[in-house]
Symmetry: C2
Subunit: 324 residues, 2 copies
């Protein structure tokens, strides 16, 4: 029986991590921190003990007191403003709510000399534009960020290394690729597309057009439930100070995803590019190698892309029914 501090506990990944703990690690004690109200329905997690502290992680004193009181063995730092698009609109807020909140977390652990392992989540966006000869991207690829969000994530990673090597904190790092799965907000590309397509199929959309940004960009989509398992395995088996890609190893363009969705849903849609959704600069192709995490932890993605997309469609059929 272990205890976990989960930051950003009201978020998408946290929900799935709690499901994972509930099934795979019964008896776990979890305290969640989130700036938003808790969205956790404890009836869904009968096998874990759940506590919640509402706190803004920019408030250092709050973080320190929570860690002091709870003495977590594992900290999984999911709190993040993880939208690249948002980071272009509000770069300062994005930076603070990625880098500065992480700095507060590790500083509290350092000051308290708390004995715990921290999982620091990074992003495939850190790699930036990668030449096709460097695909799939390994962890040794030089970083070339092209968005404020990516810069913030690299800054977090730099701080992870300093706190690990300079102060001796036990930190394991990831660069996590695009997550998909039920429950994701529709500010992200796949849920946005699925939501529009669900409405088209239902006949509640004004047109049969699906509005997207750049349909040609290729991403490595990994199911959030596989991500949850990867995070637990890294907490258990990852090497201190090491960094691991968390990815499927498979790349698809946004257009290819739409084609798959059309097949799954039995409809045809038209794609329209909204110039407002194009970003000042964007990575063309991001596909990762998951060799390192597989060798170290035995992890591998279990959920097929078709399964992920089917679950997302079902999710939006349910959600969109409630919120017209």
């Amino acid at each position: 029986m272990k205890n976990y501090l989960i930051t950003g506990s009201s978020g998408f990944v946290s929900q799935h991590f709690l499901h994972y703990l509930n099934d795979a690690c019964p008896g776990s004690h979890v305290i969640g921190i989130d700036v938003e109200r808790s969205t956790v329905d404890i009836r869904e997690f009968p096998n874990i003990r759940w506590d919640f502290a509402r706190a803004n992680m920019l408030d250092y004193a709050a973080i320190e007191s929570i860690i002091e009181e709870f003495s977590p063995e594992n900290i999984i730092h999911l709190a993040s403003f993880s939208s690249v698009a948002y980071s272009w609109k509000r770069p300062v807020e994005s930076f603070q709510n990625n880098t500065n909140i992480f700095l507060n977390l590790v500083e509290a652990v350092r000051k308290l000399a708390a004995s715990c392992r921290i999982l620091s989540i990074g992003s495939s966006e850190e790699y930036g534009n990668v030449d096709h000869t460097s695909l799939p991207i390994t962890e040794s690829q030089p970083l070339a960020p092209v968005s404020p969000y990516a810069a913030a994530r690299i800054s977090q990673e730099l701080l992870s290394r300093i706190y690990c090597q300079g102060y001796g904190l036990d930190i394991v790092m990831t660069r996590s690729f695009n997550h998909i799965g039920p429950g994701q907000k529709d500010g992200f590309v796949i849920p946005s597309i699925v939501r529009q397509m669900v409405r088209i199929r239902r006949g509640t959309s004004a047109s049969d057009e699906v509005v997207i940004g750049d349909g040609s960009i290729v991403r490595d989509f990994v199911d959030v439930r596989d991500v949850a398992e990867a995070y637990q395995l890294l907490l258990e088996k990852g090497d201190k100070g090491e960094l691991y890609n968390v990815c499927s190893g498979r790349g698809l363009s946004i257009r290819e995803i739409v084609t798959k969705l059309q097949n799954l849903m039995g409809i045809k849609v038209l794609l329209r590019t909204d110039e407002n959704l194009l970003r000042p600069s964007d990575n063309r192709i991001i596909v990762g190698s998951n060799r390192k995490i597989r060798l170290k932890t035995g992890w591998e993605p279990r959920i097929s892309l078709e399964q992920s997309l089917s679950d997302i469609i079902r999710d939006w059929e349910k959600r969109d029914h409630c919120v017209p």
Copy 2:
């Protein structure tokens, strides 16, 4: 006649930059920002027009209103918590007062769509431990920071590139090596040593020991007056989005500096290592190549190390007389 915004205007480099402007660019209009009271004596700078705004750069609104009102053509961002030692003790404050203040600056310029060139000052500390085969260090050397300060400076650099490439700001970057010269605070290594030696020579020291940290580390010391000229030349001639080492190209260990000081002062001292001055991890050798800035701007260091050290000795003889 140009106008300049200087952040950190009460600091060491700013004083010398003002002297440079006063001599080389008469008629310049300068507004200084500093969190401390202004230390500028306008009688020293008869050829420039000087204004001052006391502001904490963590206060975004203050920065924005100053830039809006003043519309600077050049911004030279000297504000920094630049002590590596301090960054180990107070990593959060160090990070905020390096990275976050810079982010506020560029964000204000972006929001106002202000037309100006920004000089973003970085540090040789960003390079970290460099293998001797990579000396002297060029700008293409991979970065491997080993202190919170270095991580903060790299974060600033990442943000510079994003604001330059993503938002079109006109930013020129430096990685500046160790500055020396009259007026530097004695929290830094050379003034600390000189101050102790001045007291020994005067007979006001309790012993003839000079307390230092690691005497074997090698640094590239460049006179602050040469640095001031480099910054002006980079504002005039540097390429947008490019980064330039500002360094002498010559490395000396702390012990070698002490030997030179002994010769200049005609005394012999004993060195004692204070374990408290040793850092969790430190770069062994930092010596830079200044080829890029020389080729681009014609800059070269003019002041010999002996001249710098003599001026620092004279400065401490004067200052230490006043503050016993």
